[in-house]
């Protein structure tokens, strides 16, 4: 894992709004970080690897948690 990616995970929950915003705008592969930080997983098993569905699940999770306001 790239050191910068690890550093972002190390920021903890404070990084979540920024990560979700990047996921919304750039579709970055933030799924490991989101799960590692939140210890939650809104992606249903059947959608593993389906990037658009994973992205939508995490963005919806962020809205539910009130984290979509960076």
């Amino acid at each position: 894992m790239h050191p910068a990616y690890q550093a972002i995970i190390g920021m903890g929950a404070a990084a979540l709004p920024m990560i979700l915003e990047d996921l919304r705008q750039n579709s970055g592969h933030w799924y490991w970080a989101l799960k590692a930080i939140s210890n939650e997983d809104p992606v249903v098993p059947g959608d593993r690897g389906s990037i658009k569905k994973m992205r939508n699940a995490w963005l919806q999770w962020g809205e539910t948690k009130g984290l979509d306001r960076a």
Binding site: H29, W32, K35, A36, R48, G49, S50, I51
Partner: protein, 156 residues
């Protein structure tokens, strides 16, 4: 960016790559990676990540080992170990590993003998077998074959 320019930009990573030994097939698609593409799956990202975020065949150990990757492709019918020679009636995939033994990449042979691969986040290309050898992806650790299905020349 023109393909020739892209090739030039990638030559530091792939010194043997030229516009003569490769050709573009499709633009970057974030929906799948090289491992999935070699397995003919353009709907999912295949990766044995320990956090269970990406797709990995459920019966295969979720680990970055050559054995796990061989087993994953085995479920797609790629069972016979072979070489890179074109063989009528056979479709082949090549699994690359780093010097550590960790799988890094996969490519699929096309009926014309070129190899199709998704090239990182850049583009999908087809190329001659040795065109991308080098430090970026390591070396081919194993080539596996299965009976050929009806298959387009584009690799899709």
């Amino acid at each position: 960016m023109k393909f020739d320019d892209l090739v030039r930009a990638m030559q530091p990573k792939f010194p043997q790559l030229t516009a003569a030994n490769s050709r573009p097939t499709s633009p970057y698609d974030e929906g799948y990676n090289c491992i999935a593409w070699a397995a003919d799956d353009t709907d999912r990202w295949w990766e044995p990540d320990p956090l269970f975020q990406q797709y990995w065949p459920p019966s295969v150990p979720r680990e970055y080992t050559l054995d796990a990757f061989v087993r994953a492709y085995g479920l797609q019918g790629y069972i016979e170990r072979c070489n890179a020679t074109v063989e009528m009636g056979k479709q082949k995939v090549a699994i690359y590993t780093a010097s550590s033994g960790k799988p890094t990449h996969a490519a699929r042979q096309l009926p014309d003998g070129w190899w199709a691969r998704k090239l990182g986040r850049e583009i999908d290309i087809e190329h001659e077998f040795e065109a991308l050898d080098g430090p970026m992806y390591g070396t081919v650790a194993v080539i596996l074959a299965r009976p050929a299905k009806q298959h387009s020349m584009s690799g899709k």
